[in-house]
Amino acid sequence: MGRRAEGTTRSVEGAAPAGGLEPVVEVVEVTKRFGEVVAVDRVSFSIAQGEFFSLLGPSGCGKTTTLRILAGFERPDAGRVLIDGRDASVLPPHRRDTNMVFQSYALFPHMTVRENVAFGPRRKERRRLLARGEVDRIVREALATVRMEAFADRYPRELSGGQQQRVALARALANRPRVLLLDEPLGALDLKLRQEMQFELKRIQREVGISFVYVTHDQGEALTMSDRVAVMNAGRIEHLGPPEEVYERPATAFVAGFIGSANLLPCRVAGLGSEAAAELDGRRLRAGAHAPGCRAGADALLMLRPEHLRLVAEEPSPGCGLPVRVLDRTFQGPEVRFQTAVEGSGPELVVLAPAVEAPALGPGDRAWATWRPERAYLLPRD
């Protein structure tokens, strides 16, 4: 029943997209330094045709620099960027088959929406990559895709943030890039609009079939939209995989903490058989899976997601629970959040219970926090 977490390696092979398709973009061992600071450190991944790929991480982790290397605004100090199998590392931005949506939208303030969207296709027309008369049709289609036809003759300053966002998207799509690069495009929008735009972006991406590389620090956004997520920290990719994998079986403690909230209990690896075991305070605890970096006898962290824990009165079967004392109880609408501490050694455990079945426990009450063993996950301690 136990399983080993697969696909959480940091090797180049692990970075390949699912399916046997030729990748649209390949990033091979790319490094970028700014003075003493290594902004991007030997990063490798590849992106399949039509894939929604996210670079996720805190600010300063190198995700935007990676995107700018893809666009051609920065040159890598080492490594290569291949687009459609051809080395594009030294191509300037205007000679690359990539287009970017900027966080600030970067619309041309002196041009109407129509002129903004036509800017890219006009350049192609000049270089005879596009037949005459095609530009108008392309602009109409791009504006229709983002549902902004009615605003074609407005200036950017006459539009709301969300509308400007759509125009920026249409302008980048009008060039039909091989890959669209998005730099925190929803960052400046308010929450409700941001959620609407997430679905809108997904719809547009399915419609046009172009690969998206999406940079964000918002883990919810990355999980909702992506086919695969690369979690970055200090210039390196710590974990690359589908959203479920990144969430359920994170490769490192950093990833576990950054994606969602997690209880990370310091423990020791007690066994790595078909099912892992952790030792905490002399108790042997069961964990369904473990990260590849775990070594028997080494320090480790037991990851328990708050929503996977339940508070019960009776002692559960051995290895599947810890005795706790409730410290605080907070009603949050759909769920109730219990702040608890493990009896004895004392690490804190957060338990989320659906409001409809939350136990009637309050501060000072004793209980057992229990989990299904396959929901517990063992991580190496850094």
């Binding site: 605004f73 900027f102 600030s104 970067a106 041309f108 002196h110 800017f119 350049r123 200036y155 060039n175």
Partner: protein, 292 residues
């Protein structure tokens, strides 16, 4: 300008109070002299004294081919100097705003400081550089490029253009720099990203968005250039004589206040027209688009 005080009763009166002093000073020291100038340009003046109104002063200017030639030369010198300054300031503004990083502030200060130099010292330094035994001639002689000093370096309209350009260039470069600084650097990147080479970015994005700064510099520099008299007097010689020198000569040396005033007023009129045209052009270039 809007007063910070809460709107309502008294705000208007308070604003009027604030404005009374500057308006008074302007009326006294600016509008007053212009009125006197205008009046004098229409006065008949002779050795016997003044009396009656006449259009002769204007007629004398517009009929005299010498005056018209000097006026044309004044326009040519001002225009060439202005174009030279724009050619220098647009790249300079771009480099300052986007390319120098941490050096931006020191370089900007250097540009401002270059204007702090006393104008007379600056002009005399240029006389030393461009003169018969000046640095430029000596260097060219020493290098064997020429065998006899070039006299035309100094006391020519070329010298006037050079010295005027160097003197005024901060007033062109700084407004252009400021309007470029207001451009989101991502906008330039977006243009490149969409397939525009440097020439297209310059023509379609940078210049239209920097246009307000360019027009401000026209108002600030091009128009005053027409009234220059110190620089042409000191480095221009007879071939660099400008309309400002004529006015100075008419009023201070000949004592013909009528013609001098008429000429000043014509110059003022020309400035007004140029300013209006510049302003109109800046509106056309969507000055508000940059603010929005």
């Amino acid at each position: 300008m809007r007063a910070r005080a809460a709107p309502g009763r008294g705000a208007g009166a308070r604003a009027a109070g604030f404005l009374a002093a500057p308006v008074g000073v302007l009326a006294l020291l600016f509008v007053g002299p212009i009125a006197i100038l205008l009046l004098m340009s229409f006065l008949r003046m002779s050795i016997a004294g003044s009396g009656g109104f006449t259009l002769d002063n204007y007629g004398a200017i517009l009929r005299d081919p010498l005056y018209l030639r000097i006026l044309a030369r004044t326009g040519a010198i001002a225009t060439v100097a202005m174009l030279a300054m724009l050619a220098l300031s647009i790249p300079l503004g771009y480099v300052l705003a986007f390319r120098v990083g941490r050096l931006e502030l020191p370089l900007l200060l250097a540009l401002v400081l270059s204007d702090e130099l006393n104008p007379l010292i600056r002009i005399y330094s240029w006389r030393m550089l461009l003169g018969r035994n000046g640095l430029v001639n000596s260097a060219l002689l020493a290098l064997g490029v020429i065998h006899r000093p070039i006299d035309a370096l100094l006391f020519s309209s070329v010298a006037v253009v050079i010295v005027l350009s160097v003197s005024w260039v901060p007033y062109v470069a700084i407004p252009i720099y400021a309007s470029m600084k207001a451009i989101d650097p991502n906008v330039l990147e977006a243009a490149r990203d969409l397939g525009a080479g440097f020439g297209t970015v310059l023509r379609r994005i940078l210049l239209p968005l920097a246009a307000p700064g360019i027009f401000v510099s026209l108002i600030l520099v091009y128009i005053p250039l027409f009234a220059e008299f110190a620089t042409p007097a000191l480095v221009g010689g007879t071939s660099g004589y400008m309309i400002g020198n004529v006015i100075q000569e008419q009023i201070l040396e000949v004592g013909n206040w009528g013609v001098g005033s008429a000429m000043s007023f014509l110059l003022l009129l020309l400035s007004g027209v140029l300013a209006a045209v510049s302003y109109r052009l800046s509106r056309l270039s969507r000055i508000e688009a940059v603010r929005g």
